[in-house]
């Protein structure tokens, strides 16, 4: 019963109260900021499945976000597919890429895995940048149609908001069910000690690949939403710095927590906008918030595990001489 109440409160807040308040405040600007926060909430929630729950430090999430965005943009501009087709296809394409690219890195652990995913992210970014004939390279893709359905609704701030909000809610539901289940416990076991998990009969590599596929699916959908709601994308939107931003959102919000991931996105995207009046100093304040949150709240605001313990475990292994240089046999 309490669960039902809290879910209805959440739905009411996201689907009625928030858009109501935003319309009352007057307009496009706050709708736009909320839409961006929504897209990054999906990204952070999905990255959270890899890093927070399964315990793999991924530094290439922006690359998968980019694959989703480009898939959507190309399908929508070249083949004129509507959004209800482009978004799921973008998710599936990204998940397939995620599996293919993750396969060779699955035997890596710790810092080596982190560096390998960093490389993956860069490979995707450089491919988007240099494959000029297909992706239009640095020119980017413009005039991507917005989210609209003939006769029902047309592209507008409110349509964008609802599209992102509903998909974010769905992502939260699916990822929440995944993490809060026996399956999620298996993923957590991999995070805490993968050798121990393997000895208990869990298919560690299989679990890692599955979590990668789920996460990449939602990263791809988030990319598609970004393409549809912005109308223009270029490789610059999917640089390494975006991966770091996603990681920072997870860390501030709390590793392994879905509300934490959303909260991280709200803080790291909302704060710079709220602080615009103080001009040049706003990024210093944002940096200070990140610094103090990691200093005083090592678990993040709502985290279930401490970032430092994950990092220590991950990176500590790399320096352990008794192990074979980051390879797990």
């Amino acid at each position: 019963m309490r669960r039902l109440i809290s879910i209805s409160i959440l739905l009411l807040a996201v689907l009625l109260v928030l858009p109501g308040v935003l319309s009352a405040v007057g307009g496009g600007y706050w709708f736009r900021v909320t839409t961006t926060i929504g897209v990054f909430s999906i990204l952070t929630m999905s990255a959270n499945l890899i890093t927070g729950t399964t315990g793999l430090m991924s530094l290439g999430h922006a690359g998968f976000y980019g694959i989703g965005a480009y898939t959507t943009a190309l399908l929508a501009t070249k083949l004129h597919w509507p959004f209800f087709l482009t978004l799921p296809v973008a998710g599936v394409v990204t998940a397939v890429f995620g599996i293919l690219l993750a396969l060779p890195t699955m035997r890596l652990i710790g810092i080596y895995f982190a560096v390998a995913t960093l490389g993956l992210g860069e490979i995707i970014h450089v491919t988007l940048l240099n494959w000029v004939d297909f992706t239009r390279g640095p020119m980017g893709i413009s005039a991507i149609p917005g989210i609209s359905l003939d006769g029902l609704f047309s592209a507008s701030d409110i349509t964008n908001y609802y599209a992102v909000a509903i998909i974010a809610l769905l992502a939260a539901l699916v990822l929440g069910r995944l993490t809060h289940s026996y399956y999620g416990n298996a993923l957590r076991a991999v995070r805490e000690d993968d050798q121990c998990a393997a000895s208990m009969g869990l298919n560690v590599v299989g679990l890692k690949i599955q979590s990668f596929a789920f996460a990449c699916f939602f990263a791809g959908v988030a990319g598609g939403l970004w393409a549809h709601t912005t109308g223009y994308i270029s490789p610059g939107d999917f640089r390494f710095s975006e991966s770091i931003l996603i990681l920072a959102m997870m860390v501030v919000g709390g590793l392994g927590s879905i509300p934490g991931a959303v909260l991280g996105a709200v803080i790291l995207l909302g704060l710079p906008e709220v602080l615009r009046p103080i001009g040049d100093y706003r990024m210093i304040v944002v940096g200070a918030v990140m610094f103090f949150s990691i200093l005083f709240l090592p678990r993040g605001l709502l985290g279930e595990t401490s970032v430092l313990s994950v990092v220590r475990r991950q990176f500590g292994l790399a320096w352990d001489r008794t192990l074979n240089l980051g390879w797990r046999q």
Partner: protein, 375 residues
């Protein structure tokens, strides 16, 4: 008696209110939004834009060209990030006092923000966006920079006339570099020259030795460089170290004092174009250089001049659109009608059909660590 006194007080109040209303109508504020990277990796450009725009608006407000109207500049920092650029575009669109927007710096952010301005019908004038599709977004987009479609063929002809029949082309891998290389190659081939090699380097590259080896092997008569000063200076230095003797032709993007500092003697001999020449003796250019230097302790460079002109073009458009009564639609029409604007980056007109700017280019060469005008 009491009643009469009360009436008088009332009357005075009404008069005062009416007067103050009249005064506020007399002193109206019209705002220009300016979005630029004031922090982040392109902050050096954003800061220069802010300096120039502030200078232009302060001069305008002092000049009294619009009596009773104060022009206000509203700056927002986009960090060269499309996410922030789009947010700002929304913010400016919501702000009813803003009749026109200048910015952003790079094409990615200008293009993304442009999608918003096209929807909300706010005139947007970028001082630097050179993406070929930028002004095609909608009739609300303008720019104050020559596109490579104009500059490329001009440099190609210059190189061809100076005796180079075979050139190697190297350019930065972004939208600007793509169109710089593309237009130069097209122009050079049209003249009957051959292009031995076309190479793109990713932004942030500092080691050009492999590209230089490839270029040397193709034995060109000259090299065309489409780059900015950070990469351009590294390229020039390594070219000298590798012993390549071919002359270098470059776009106006290399017209930057930092190039001379970073490349040192390796910059000598480079041919380049520019719309703005800081040593110019034309009175309005000299006055701008003097005022800028007095206020910000440093000579303005090309980008500073471009932003100064962009701001003045916008101010002119606001005057033409009726000053205090200017609306976004009227400012757009006034911008589109810009003709023979006497800017510090040359006389500027916007093509009535395409809205592309037309500016004259000066030819320069680096000699003894200085930019010198050449024929």
């Amino acid at each position: 008696m009491m009643r009469f006194k009360q009436c008088k007080t009332l009357l005075t109040t009404v008069c005062l209110v009416a007067l103050s209303c009249g005064a506020s109508a007399q002193n109206k504020t019209v705002a220009i939004g300016y979005q630029a990277p004031l922090s982040g990796e392109n902050a050096q450009y954003g800061t220069v834009f802010r300096n120039s725009a502030t200078l232009a608006v302060d001069e305008f407000n002092k000049s009294g060209r619009l009596p009773g109207v104060t022009i206000q500049l509203k700056f927002e920092d986009s960090k060269s990030d499309a996410k922030e650029g789009v947010n700002i575009a929304r913010k400016f669109s919501d702000d009813a006092s803003i009749v026109g927007v200048i910015g952003d710096f790079n094409s990615t952010v200008s293009m993304a923000a442009g999608q918003v301005y096209a929807q909300t019908k706010v005139p947007q004038l970028s001082q630097t966006a050179s993406h070929p599709d930028y002004v095609k977004i909608s009739e609300y987009q303008f720019r104050n920079i020559n596109t490579q479609a104009y500059e490329g063929p001009l440099i190609a002809k210059w190189a061809f006339d100076s005796g180079a029949k075979k050139v190697a082309v190297i350019a930065i891998q972004n939208d600007w570099g793509q169109s710089a290389a593309g237009n130069f190659v097209q122009g050079f081939k049209a003249l009957g020259g051959t292009v031995t090699e076309t190479e793109f380097f990713n932004p942030g590259t500092r080691d050009f030795r492999s590209i230089l080896t490839k270029i040397a092997r193709s034995q060109p008569d000259a090299i065309f460089v489409g780059a900015f000063y950070e990469d351009g200076s590294a390229f020039l230095q390594q070219k000298v170290q590798m012993g390549l003797k071919q002359p270098v032709f470059a776009t106006s993007s290399l017209y930057e004092k930092k190039l001379l500092e970073l490349a040192g003697p390796a910059a000598n001999g480079v041919y380049l174009t520019s719309t703005f020449v800081v040593e110019s003796t034309e009175p309005h250019v000299a006055a701008f250089v003097k005022n800028y230097e007095a206020r910000y302790n440093g000579k303005p460079q090309q980008f500073a001049a471009q932003a100064y002109d962009a701001t003045n073009i916008m101010l002119n458009a606001i005057v033409a659109a009726g000053g205090a009564n200017a609306t976004r639609a009227k400012v757009r029409d006034a911008l589109a009608a810009t003709k023979d604007f006497p800017g510090v980056t040359g006389t500027t007109s916007f093509d009535p059909a395409t809205r592309e700017p037309i500016k004259l280019l000066s030819k320069l060469q680096v000699q003894d660590g200085k930019f010198v005008s050449v024929k």
